[in-house]
Symmetry: C2
Subunit: 359 residues, 2 copies
DNA sequence: TTGAAAGCGCTAACAC
DNA sequence: GTGTTAGCGCTTTCAA
């Protein structure tokens, strides 16, 4: 009775291999292999016989072993910076579902801004992944080269690295910036504040430059455009708006442009709760991403949606997962337009599509 | 000049193997293997010689091949339901960092509530992972059995499956529920509403039962405790509070207990923006998780923190990643107490630790 | 400390 | 359509 109090342990069984299944089914081992692989010459009859034997033995093919011979692991590496921005969470989830549906899985690698990305890449290469998706992190040319030499394609997702030989799939950020500027202008805004992300981030840079470009075209003077940096996080948005508002003598700008929703949320929370400001009455707000949070009651953000599904489709296309022999195209850039999501942070109604198209 | 307009393609190079390195370094292939493996008998001299050759050839050990012989992949499967709740995002990120620091990676598997979890598990087993962490999904006994037979431990994270032979690491939900009840009681609450999660979720069940238990002990009558179900999502919280408040004739309950922060946020947004209610003046709120969002200006939730770091440490301990031969202990349950995070949704100040300890 | 050789479990020619 | 056989790139005895 003593046994009951001791923790129970599982007893590991010897591994069941395709040889065991072959023996039980009375066929050769290679037939077992054929039975479990798509489009291979095997009679339905023996296949069933094999499946039956496999079921009896609880046989599961060893994908590690098969990767070794086929040189395909069906694993895609996803190098992710951090998950503070819900957009990247959505992205991760969507990639995982899409890939899993086609029999592949995501191997997650984290690379913070302070981490040695090259070291992480070496780890990635060890795992013999079929492709690499990089968000937020930056990669040295040496590393992209090593990866490409091995036939492993790299896609920068939502991050454009000028001069890199890795390809890039991203939202058309500059175009979105122009659209948002136009919306604000039409709603009557004359003076502007912007909360940018990290200066090095191309995403931030492109959104800002499209936005400012359109403003300039409409005759807005440089002194009517203020900027603060928000590091693309909620807390960064909070800090940036405080810098903009604290001890302010000048009148409030008419409109605030945040380069992503999460910073807009931080900024709005501060304006609403610490300064008693109303949006859009006191100040209009526009941003980017259309994360799920942006539609919630306290925010109702007018924003440019990142066309996630289209971006993922394009990424998977560039990855050429199904015909690895085709060679890796280098340095492709795929900007995808994102739709305007009109909500409540800009007064009035959305410009019609025709108008926006001419931008 | 025509070439310039054609897309450039990377030319795949033949793979560099340990044999190539051995040849260049003038040693045997097995020495190369030794050089790259921890604690192995090799002179520092030849090791350096080999590293040098490896560097010249850009050699990276093939971990797929090594997994085949060692039967260890250094890959941990993480089966995740969905990422709508930020708590699971934090968890994913924290696991990934902790594992990566010790030379392992996460292979992500998604299993929605409608997916066939057993089919997902078969996929997991193919990849020869060293361990499996399951959140949100439920697993059949057959599958846990198959995994354990293969020597692959399974840990349910933040999910207790009574009777399962897989072990479980979780927050002590019932204790947290009691603490929150006590806080609300001390703040003067006499009537209560609760927003529960899915009925089948043990997490929700335990939090609710601890909460109600304490209420009963203090003489609160059953008719003074209302319940609505919120499916553990933001939108679910919104719907639940609307059901509770719409066409309400009875007076408002004194306090609202939500079994997680994300639903509390949905409920608060509705109460604030649609009903003009103030927290905690009109109604107190308490919840669970301490996700980063819960500390933001519009919420300031008083909540029980899920002790994520401790939970992860315990999970890694139960996984026995470093001594796989030790056998898998079955059916362990590790409830870990979560600290009370006192903010602004309950008036007054927090009960002292001594008081809470006696609960 | 080092090298030779036998696998790990599977796929893919190649014969039959 | 099926079986035989030679690897895939590595780790790990076993001898030297």
């Amino acid at each position: 009775m003593d046994q009951v109090t001791r923790p129970k342990h599982a007893v590991p069984q010897p591994r069941v291999t395709s040889f065991d299944v072959a023996a039980l089914a009375g066929v050769s081992q290679s037939s077992v292999s054929r039975a479990f692989s798509k489009r291979s010459n095997i009679s339905e009859d023996t296949r069933q016989k094999i499946f039956e034997a496999a079921r009896k033995l609880n046989y599961v093919p060893n994908s590690i072993a098969s990767s070794l011979t086929t040189r395909r692991s069906n694993i895609i590496a996803l190098i992710i910076g951090d998950l503070k921005n819900p957009f990247y969470v959505r992205m991760l989830h969507a990639f995982s579902e899409r890939l899993q549906a086609e029999g592949r899985q995501i191997l997650a690698f984290t690379a913070g801004p302070d981490d040695d990305t090259d070291a992480v890449m070496m780890r990635v290469l060890q795992y013999q992944v079929d492709g690499i998706i990089v968000t937020q992190a930056r990669l040295s040319m040496r590393m992209t080269g090593l990866s490409h030499e091995r036939g492993i394609p790299i896609i920068f997702f939502n991050r454009y690295v000028p001069g890199s030989d890795a390809s890039c799939v991203r939202c058309d950020n500059a175009a979105g910036g122009r659209v948002l500027a136009e919306c604000l202008l039409r709603a009557g805004a004359k003076s502007f504040a912007m909360i940018a992300g990290e200066a090095r981030a191309t995403t931030s840079h492109d959104r800002i430059s499209g936005f400012v470009e359109r403003l300039r075209e409409s005759g807005v003077r440089p002194q009517d455009i203020e900027t603060a940096e928000g590091f693309s996080t909620y807390d960064g948005g909070v800090i940036a708006i405080q810098k903009l508002l604290k001890d302010r003598k000048a009148p409030l700008p008419d409109a605030l442009f945040c380069i992503n929703d999460i910073m807009a949320m931080g900024a709005m929370d501060v304006m609403t709760h610490s300064y008693g400001l109303s949006v859009p009455t006191d100040i209009m707000v526009a941003s980017f991403d259309n994360i799920p949070e942006s539609g919630r009651l306290p925010y109702q953000l007018t924003t440019i949606e990142q066309p996630l599904d289209a971006m993922i489709t394009e990424t998977l296309k560039l990855l050429h997962l199904d015909d690895p022999g085709s060679g890796i195209e280098l340095g492709l850039d795929r900007p995808i337009p994102g739709p305007l999501i009109w909500r409540a942070t800009i007064p009035g109604s959305a410009p019609d599509a025709a108008t926006l198209a001419t931008l």
